[in-house]
Each structure stands twice: as C-alpha cells, then as structure tokens.
C-alpha cells in the first residue's frame, strides 16, 4: 500500500491498478486536447481546427451524414472495415502457414529470404496505385492492407517457430512423434503467441495502409475518401473528424487483439 498524491494505492489490487491506468490515460488525453486547442488558437490557422470544431463535425456526420455525398458515418466505416477485414484475413491465411513452413525448413527459408528481403522494404502505400489501378477497387485496396500486415506477421511467425525450445522437440520425439507430428503438435502450438504478436503489429500497420488505399480507390467511399473530400472542400473540421475516426477504429482493433493475446498467453502459459 502506498500513496499517490495523497490517494491510497495498492499495487496488488486489480481495481486499483485499473483505476490508476484509467486516471493516467484520461489526464494524458486531456493534456493532448489542451495542447491541440492552444496550437489551434495561437496559430489562428483554419487548417488546424479546434478540438471543439472537430467534435461538432463528428457529431454532425453522425447525426446527419455527409452533406456532400449523402453517405452516413456507418456506411463510411463499414466500407473501410470491409477492406480491412478482407486484407487481414488474407494476410493471416497466407503468412501463418508460410511462416510455419519457413520457420521449420532452413532450405525453404534460405530459398525465399532473398525475395522477402527485396520486397519487405517497399512501403505498402507504394503498391496502392499499382494494385488499385490494375486490379480494381475490390481487390486492390484489400491487397494494400494485405501487404501491410503480411510482412510483420510472417517475420513473427518464422521467429516463433525458430525460438522453440529444442527440448520440446526432443521430448516429443522420445514420446514417439513423427516429423509431421513434431510439426503440428509442437511447433504450431508453440508459435501461437508469436502469431498473436505479429497480428498486433500488423493491425497497426494495416490501418495506416487503408487511408492511403482509399485515396486512390475513391468509389469505395471509405473513411479515407471522406477525409480527402472534406480536405479538398477546405472543410478542415471534417477532415480532422476523419482522422479521429481512423484513430479510434485502429485503437479498437488493436485493443481487441491485445485482449485475445492476453487470453492466449494465459492459456498457453507462454508470454512473448
């Protein structure tokens, strides 16, 4: 038991710890908004709306929809979310099995490494015009998100398989495991926490990609498109409202992934 600013605080009490985190988060966000406000007022630049103007734009979008396109906030969000989820699932479906195999086989790893290392440094956003203009609005943006999530996920899965305790493999073999059984009874489950780690990193990058993708894929009418049309019209509070929506959606997805990660870590007894 200790005291922070005169308030009793017990490190071992779950509620106390939660309250502490919450209070700090609220103070931090409040300070952020105050600084934003100050910058807006001091510069007097209309391209930096105040938090209140942004909030009003957000509420207006929520209540009345987009006055220019007559689309609702829900429609914008579901368009972006759909692109995001499809890209994410595709990345999961490709990166996880590929990572397991590449982590297992040194030959295949050495074989594919040169290609991966050439492709990895290319920003996912650089792919956006190519994918979207060549493959269309349904597949293109999805692939941009895919590229963003794919590499961090792949790297983590490979790492997870390679980090495996060699004693686990020996133990499995002396219990009669075949090569294949070692793979799916030991390597796959032991890589699960690393998969979750990769997903968390990938999700963040995926959200960065989506706005970029939507700038090219205007007919999709996602949040990125909304943001761009508001900025084009010089209606800055609307553009900022777009930023807030993207930030909150990103926060929510990463939060869900973090929760799942914790449950997995607890269930597997492996914290990575």
């Amino acid at each position: 038991m200790s005291r922070i600013l005169g308030i009793k605080y017990d490190e071992n009490n779950k509620n106390h710890r939660f309250a502490r985190t919450l209070v700090i988060a609220v103070i931090s966000l409040t300070l952020f908004i105050l600084v934003w406000w100050a910058v807006s007022v001091v510069t007097g630049n209309t391209a930096i709306p105040t938090p209140l103007e942004t909030w009003n734009a957000l509420v207006d979008l929520y209540l009345n929809g987009d006055r220019m396109t007559h689309r609702t906030l829900g429609q914008y969000i579901s368009a972006s979310l759909s692109t995001f989820v499809r890209g994410f699932i595709l990345a999961l479906a490709v990166a996880v099995p590929l990572g397991l195999v590449l982590g297992y086989s040194k030959l295949l790893r050495d074989f594919s490494n040169p290609v991966i290392e050439v492709l990895r440094p290319i920003a996912p956003i650089a792919w956006a015009p190519i994918f979207i203009l060549s493959l269309g609005y349904t597949i293109g943006p999805m692939l941009v998100v895919f590229v963003g999530i794919f590499f961090p996920l792949l790297t983590n899965v490979i790492f997870g398989v390679r980090k495996i305790d060699p004693n686990w493999i020996d133990a499995a073999k002396t219990l009669g495991a075949s090569q294949l059984q070692v793979f799916y009874k030991v390597m796959v489950p032991s890589a699960v926490p690393y998969v979750m780690n990769g997903i968390k990193i990938g999700l963040g990058i995926g959200w960065m990609c989506i706005v970029a993708a939507e700038l090219y894929a205007t007919p999709l009418m996602g949040i990125g498109f909304y943001l761009a049309t508001q900025a084009n019209a010089g209606y800055w509070p609307g553009a900022y409202a777009g930023l807030v929506i993207i930030g909150v959606l990103g926060l929510l997805t990463v939060g869900v992934a973090d929760l799942i990660h914790r449950i997995v870590a607890k269930r597997t007894g492996m914290d990575v």
Binding site: D170, A171, A172, T174, L175, G176
Partner: protein, 272 residues
C-alpha cells in the same frame, strides 16, 4: 551390505559386457565437428545395461553423460559403434525409450493431464483409455489435485513429477533420466528421490540415470558407472546390492559416497 573387496563390487571394463544385456553399447565413438574444431566426446565406449536395473552414470560435467543418453534415445547418431536393445539396433527415437529432462521440457500450452497424454495421443490410443491411463500415472505421481492445472502453475518438483509420469505412461522399456533433479533445491531433491523409488516399485523398467550428485547415485542405484573426464571412459562400475530405502546416515553409505567422490576428484571435479 558389503561393497568392499570384490564381493558386491566389480571393476572396470571386464564386467561392462555380458551376453544377457538388455541394452548393449559397443565401441561407441562420438565426435562433434564444427568447422575447424573437433570434440571427441566418446572414444570406444562400451557398456551393458541389464533389464530392470537402475544404473547411474556419474562423471565430471562435460564428460559426455548427456551425449550417451541422447545416443541411446536415438536423438543423435554415433560417429561409429552400435547400440542394441534386446538385440535390435536402435537408431531413430521411439516410444520404447522415454526420456526425462533436467529442465522438464513440459509443453506449457498443455495442462498436466494433456502433457501426460501426449505420447498416448501420438500412438492413436482412444480417448477413454488415454484418460484412464494418464489419470493412473498422475495419481502415482501424487498430482491428482493438479490434473487440470497449467504447468507454469506448478513448483519445480511437481513439474518433474509430470515429466516422469509423461515418460512412464507409455510403458517404455527404458527410461533415460538426464539430471532430472538437477535444478531442484536439496530438500525437494531428496523428496523426489524417495518418490521416484516409490513410483518405480510398481514398474519393471530399466532406468539409465545421469547425475552429478554422488549422494543421489548411491541412494538410488543398483549400479553406478563412474566416468572419467572427456572422452568418457568407464573408471569403475560399482554394484550396490543394498535394500531400499537406504539410510544416508549409514556408515557404509557414507564410506561409499566418500570413495566415489575421491575418485571423481581425481578427474578434477570440484562440484558435489
């Protein structure tokens, strides 16, 4: 209780081989090569192990004890020489030779029950029978209260009892134990030794036990093989026909322990 003189005590290589051997190790050579460096760990190592005995290998650390166990397990291949079990050459690892590891090597993503069931699962044994057999051994290990616990919730001693139950449940002919109590504190170690003997009372398996505690070796073994430093050669084989449980305070116990320690000190080991 007499080991002095020649009655209960046999010397050197002459007694290391016989025809009724259960595990016959012949002229084993193991050389680890890596780039320029070469480590000769075993040079013409020969030993016969009898059915149902508990034989202990003691020797300086780095002398090659783990290497011998891993060769018997089939986890590594000899540079030359042969190992036969009941006349059959043993190459690949298999469920006929169980292994217990110093750092337990339990699967953290599985419960106690699922760890013990692992080998039975691999063998395709039906669920009901698996459950029954696992429960029997978990009970034998005194862990019935923890049957559904995750392994990271257990103490070191409990973890190793899971390791032992996991190795025993598939009824292997041979159990290889590599310093199984080496990472436990002295008190837990003594308790585990008593419990191990209790568990083994009900089985007829052959145990090859590696330790660098001479005290442990004298407490447990039917025979002790004293090894030289690398490359491991047999310095002496000592028969201990004393009944169990053995009394550490016993004069003969202490005298034998002292003698082996002196022998090992000649191989310049300082650890006890």
């Amino acid at each position: 209780m007499n080991w002095e003189g020649n009655a209960g005590c046999t010397w050197g290589e002459s007694s290391a081989t016989s025809d009724d051997a259960h595990i016959s190790i012949r002229n084993l050579v193991k050389i680890f090569k890596r780039d320029e460096s070469e480590t000769v760990v075993l040079d013409n190592f020969t030993l016969d192990i009898r059915k149902g005995e508990l034989i202990t290998l003691v020797g300086p650390s780095g002398s090659g004890k783990t290497t011998i166990l891993r060769l018997i397990a089939g986890l590594i291949e000899p540079t030359s020489g042969e190992i036969h079990i009941d006349g059959r050459p043993c190459a690949a690892p298999g469920s006929d030779r169980g292994m217990v590891f110093q750092d337990f090597a339990l699967f953290p993503w599985r419960s106690v029950r699922k760890n013990v069931e692992f080998g039975l699962e691999l063998a395709g044994i039906p669920k009901e029978e698996r459950k029954e057999r696992a429960e029997k051994y978990i009970k034998l290990a005194g862990l019935e209260k923890f049957i559904d616990s995750r392994v990271h919730e257990l103490s070191g001693g409990m973890k190793q009892r899971v390791g032992i139950a996991r190795a025993l449940v598939g009824h292997p002919d041979v159990i290889l134990m590599d310093e199984p109590f080496g990472s436990l504190d002295a008190q837990t170690r003594n308790i585990m030794q008593v419990q191990l003997l209790k568990i083994l009372e009900k089985t007829d398996q052959t145990i090859v036990f590696v330790t660098h505690s001479v005290d442990e070796a004298v407490f447990l073994s039917d025979r002790i093989v004293v090894l030289t430093k690398r490359p491991a050669a047999i310095k002496e084989i000592i028969d201990i026909p004393w009944p169990r449980p053995r009394d550490r305070a016993d004069r003969e116990f202490a005298a034998l322990r002292k003698r082996i320690l002196t022998e090992l000190e000649e191989e310049n080991v300082m650890d006890y």
